[in-house]
């Protein structure tokens, strides 16, 4: 007889729907309920590192920006360490940086943004350093299971060229869909990152 395993099956995903804001960002739904709200500002007064803003839109297969999308990011601190017990790298934690944030696109413009710091490089598998990146998760009405991707930085040309994840993408032309473009606006550093769910320039999404 074949050995019978008793692993459970993961619970099925369902779309976040159009009213995801009620649960995850009630201010945007139009009301106040919780004392403490999770939001798109990852930095506090003491956070170490280069302050950056990541902004962009999420665009559907017709070229129209999604105005009801919710995004979350998860990233290492400026020293390149995740604020999580599984990260044993010999690098400092930052007491004023969890590394997680949640944003909604604007109901009119579709623009989302995060206020954060540029992450440091994190060690990848088999001792290969990963280029600085931010992990991104996207849900919305019409998205049946959350989409995972990564945001890399346009000014990290050398690190990006050696990054083990970018190099997994067979089509070199598609790698650029993961590179946020650096701009400076009145002293503020802004990385522009548009996500194309479908169509020309479709963003690379990962099965993680």
């Amino acid at each position: 007889m074949v050995n019978q395993f008793n692993y459970l099956k993961e619970t099925a995903s369902q779309t976040a729907g159009p009213y995801v804001h009620i649960g995850l960002a009630p201010h945007q739904a139009g009301f106040d309920i919780f004392e403490n709200n999770f939001g798109n500002v990852l930095v506090g007064p003491g956070t170490k590192g280069e302050r950056i803003r990541i902004e962009g839109r999420v665009i559907d297969g017709s070229g129209t920006p999604l105005r009801d999308v919710l995004l979350e990011i998860w990233q290492a601190n400026a020293a390149g360490r995740y604020n999580h017990p599984a990260d044993k790298q010999d690098k400092p934690l930052d007491d004023d940086f969890r590394g997680w944030g949640r944003a909604c696109s604007n109901f009119e413009t579709g623009v989302y943004s995060f206020e954060t710091v540029k992450p440091g490089a994190v060690m990848g598998r088999n001792g290969r350093l990963m280029a600085p990146h931010v992990n991104l998760w996207i849900v919305a009405r019409g998205i049946n299971i959350g989409l995972n991707t990564r945001i890399y930085f346009s000014d990290e040309v050398d690190a990006n060229a050696k990054d083990p994840v970018l190099n997994l993408i067979e089509w070199e032309v598609r790698r650029k869909t993961l590179i946020a473009q650096r701009e400076e606006r009145g002293g503020e550093v802004v990385y522009r990152f548009d996500v194309h769910i479908q169509g020309d320039n479709e963003t690379v999404f990962f099965d993680i």
Partner: protein, 246 residues
């Protein structure tokens, strides 16, 4: 298996057969919001096995009580219910300290949301959202009003079965999950295009919460039981190339 749940490893490959495909044309909005290319499969690194850690002091004392957390000058209208269950991983181990966030329509099927135009009225005493962290056994509970079904624009006569939206954040960013809980006995489940986007009967059954008579609060509230399974991770005994080394 002896591995403690505080040891972290790579997650098991996601079994996509239990999930809806991105492209599910009977759920019309998915057509333009689904990638055409294959997902690129990644072996987990620290970026996937880690994730945000939440603290109890970030939540308020009424955050898991949807009956009271928006009550202004009375109680919300509708059937009082308790919803409870365990968050486990695929190994059957409790997921401790998971952030469970819920949102829902009121008893009439109306959401407190500036974009919801349904004719059923807003309930002045009902917000429709809550959140809770699981305890050391992976257990969570909250109290609410049973949501009503409502029509939605897909085909002209599509109705959503009564449901509660769930967002769950476990130990690692790769476990992040959003889903919906349905109620045992609801005849609208069988015809809902969003439910039917899942081509797996067992997976659909897992989203339907049975009535739990034993957990009812006598003379007060009925109860429903909804258990959640997040991805499991492998023991780290003979590997960890995740952080370098050979």
């Amino acid at each position: 298996m002896t591995r403690s749940s505080d040891v972290y490893g790579e997650f098991y490959q996601r079994d996509r057969s239990v999930h809806p495909p991105a492209y599910a044309p009977d759920y019309k909005t998915s057509v333009l919001r689904s990638p055409s290319n294959s997902l690129i499969s990644l072996q987990n690194s620290l970026s996937e096995i880690t994730g945000p850690v939440f603290r109890q002091d970030e939540l308020g004392p009424l955050d898991n009580d949807l009956i009271l957390n928006y009550a202004k000058d009375g109680l919300p209208i509708g059937e009082r219910i308790v919803v409870h269950g365990f968050v486990r991983d695929e190994n059957g181990r409790p997921v401790k300290n998971a952030l469970v966030e819920v949102w829902q329509a009121n008893a009439g099927g109306r959401y407190r949301h500036k974009k919801d135009q349904y004719i059923a009225p807003i309930d002045p005493n009902f917000g429709g959202c809550g959140r809770v962290l699981t305890d050391d056994n992976g257990y969570y509970f909250f109290r609410t009003i049973k949501p009503g079904p409502y029509p939605w624009r897909n085909r002209v006569n599509d109705w959503r079965p009564a449901h509660i939206h769930y967002s769950i954040s476990g130990n690692g960013f790769a476990q992040r999950l959003i889903t919906q809980m349905y109620f045992e006995g609801d005849p609208l489940i069988a015809t809902c295009p969003i439910v039917k986007s899942i081509n797996n009967e067992e997976a659909v059954r897992g989203l339907i919460a049975p009535l739990d008579r034993n957990a009812a609060i006598q003379l007060d509230s009925l109860a429903y039981r909804f258990d959640i399974v997040l991805r499991g991770s492998r023991a780290t005994l003979f590997e960890n190339h995740l952080q370098g080394g050979k």
